[in-house]
Amino acid sequence: MREDEFRERLRRAIGEPPPLVAPVPWQARDERPSGPAHLAAAIAVGLAALLVIGLLGTRLLLHRPAPSAAAQPGPGLSCSLPVVVMERTRRTAGFITIPGGTFFADPQAAVGDLPSSTGVGAAGPTFYSPQLGRWLPTGPIAVSPDGRQYLYTVLLPARSSYSDFTSAELHVYDVPQRADRKLFTYAGSIDVIQWTAGAIIVDTVPPRGGLRLLWSIAATTGAVTQADASADPNVLRPSPGQAQLSFGYGVIGHDSAGGPIFVIGGGRPGAPFSVVLYRSGVQTVVYSGTSGDATGFDPIAALGDDHGVWFYNRDATSLWLWQPGQGLQRFAVSGLPLTAGQPVGSLSLQPAGPCSALSIPRSWPAGLPSPRPSPSAPPTPAPPPADWSTLTARPLALRHLAAGAPCPVSGRVDLQPRVQDGKWPVYGFGNGPLYLSGQLSWYAGGQAAVFLVDPSSTGPMLVRSARLDGTGDLVMTGPGASGSTVDMPVTALPPYWGTWEGRLAAAAPGCYGLQVDGAGFTEQIVLQVLVGPAPPG
């Protein structure tokens, strides 16, 4: 049978799938999905929380206030608005001067020392806390009202993703105190919906999909109670009289009191849309117009602060500030990180915090409001500098073996390392706090190796090696490695284990030892290196 015949036979055997209608959740619908459109609707629902197809009456859209956009900034407004400029997956954190509208990238935007959620949104600085004077690795809704703590989630088991996780933990991290506290564990995903002065609202969904539940968590006590659907602020609840036609809507942000800001309709040029703010059950129509019209107000995100509500345009050319009674003010944006020939429309702005005078001293580009230290924000304690001289001064205590003496190989122990990212071995050799792992057997010629460090030891560690039954040593390559030595300035960030990935290479089989020196301890790990090379697999 030729290949094309088999192809034909297979196709006939499997048959053809039923017709499929692609999902178009942004478009207004005038009827409920049915028949083949079921999948499109199901996927739209699956896109969860952002693209909900809901019923909403025409009255809201038809009740249009006149466009009130004005091009002049308000008097006396001077601050720096933190934003993240996004282009697909590239992110640049910085500030836009108000009223000037000039963007400055922040060269000191870094969050590498802070724990963050597994996977989504975990990659970089996404929120600037003026109270702390630093960037945080989370979105605005997961930051405490006082700006000093934030929420993040950890998928379990370690290194799992949303494809294979079994449970999740919600943590709150106190940045000034560098204190991590587990708030909530659930056998499913945990997503933060809102953190207000009242409570933290999260929702949970089982790993394989299923019932979505809402939970209210008291931030101070950690008390968790299940909430009903009314606790979700991001759902439009039209009155029965309004439920005549259906429109797509989405929440694009919240005001300073946590009130959701909806964009209803729109999504394609010429489509009518409204921007509506809900607070305490009262709806305020911020704007009603048409997508792509001459006004140029086409928001994709919003964030409220003491000044009002900032709206971020789809094409990154404009920012808008809405203030009750004053309407919308437009601020043209310039200075965005564009490459030659790149259209500004390829960028978008993500809100990253309230507009404020910067609160940390730093060398700063001219034109940005002068930095002022925040009197109430204690400085974040920096990790102590590594005192290598103390560690290197310790003698290498690895003892040479007598001729013919057996190699006193370190025992294998079972570990359950809790690591922020990645899958790591669940075994190690040694007595800790540093464990040698990555291989069950060691062969001459070199193999990948892993150090796992118990979170009880956060300080610097010095790892040195020597052969115990002859001359030579283990050559280690990897971060901080130099020949037979590895310097590890920071080993663990509690509650997470520290990790090191590298390679150990012995020129010849034999008995080798590692000496690990850290604050208050010296540890030895002995391994037998067999005749190489290592078998494949």
């Binding site: 049978m1 088999f6 799938p17 999902p23 999948l39 952002l50």
Partner: protein, 173 residues
């Protein structure tokens, strides 16, 4: 996942990509699962997972291969978790002619479908990608996360295994 972590522009882009890729993804899922309802569920879950993973999608990535890989993983997972062995028939396979012009009756089609359900997921995936979706070995490799040569090898192994399952039907294959 929160609304601010996946920007609206990316959502729009994602939805556009989804609209382009869904027919192919549906074909992959249907080929693997051979059940319309399960296929829909798999696609829904895959789309949701893709949306959640969107911020991790690297610039310049092959979006089609990326999404189809998610669909493929979802189908593998669903095949693993199946507890039933009954072959569900959404619609009778159409009659087909072999090279001798003789009709391939329903029984032959059912037998081939059953054989496809008996072989390991990775083998079935290879056959579906190659013969049901007409993928090149290079495209197969991108979805399976292997080289083109490995994809070709996997396809040949799958064919050999299929011959073991239905030696009479594929005796000349």
């Amino acid at each position: 996942v929160t609304g601010v972590e996946v920007r609206a522009a990316d959502q729009q882009w994602f939805m556009e990509q989804m609209a382009l890729m869904l027919p192919l993804a549906q074909r992959l899922a249907y080929g693997m699962l051979q059940n319309a309802h399960e296929c829909e569920d798999a696609l829904q879950d895959a789309a949701f997972k893709a949306w959640r993973a969107l911020p991790r999608l690297r610039e310049g990535s092959d979006v089609r291969a990326w999404f189809l890989t998610i669909v493929a993983n979802e189908c593998r997972q669903r095949r693993r978790s199946r507890w039933w062995s009954t072959l569900k028939m959404d619609s009778p396979p159409a009659a087909v002619s072999n090279r001798h012009g003789q009709g391939l009756g329903d029984e032959d089609a059912i037998e081939l479908r059953r054989a496809l359900n008996r072989i390991p997921s990775d083998m079935k995936m290879a056959l579906v990608l190659r013969y049901y979706l007409d993928f090149s070995f290079e495209d197969m490799g991108r979805v399976l996360g292997v080289s083109a040569a490995a994809a070709k090898s996997r396809t040949h192994r799958a064919l050999s295994r299929l011959r073991v399952e239905i030696p009479e039907a594929l005796a000349d294959a």
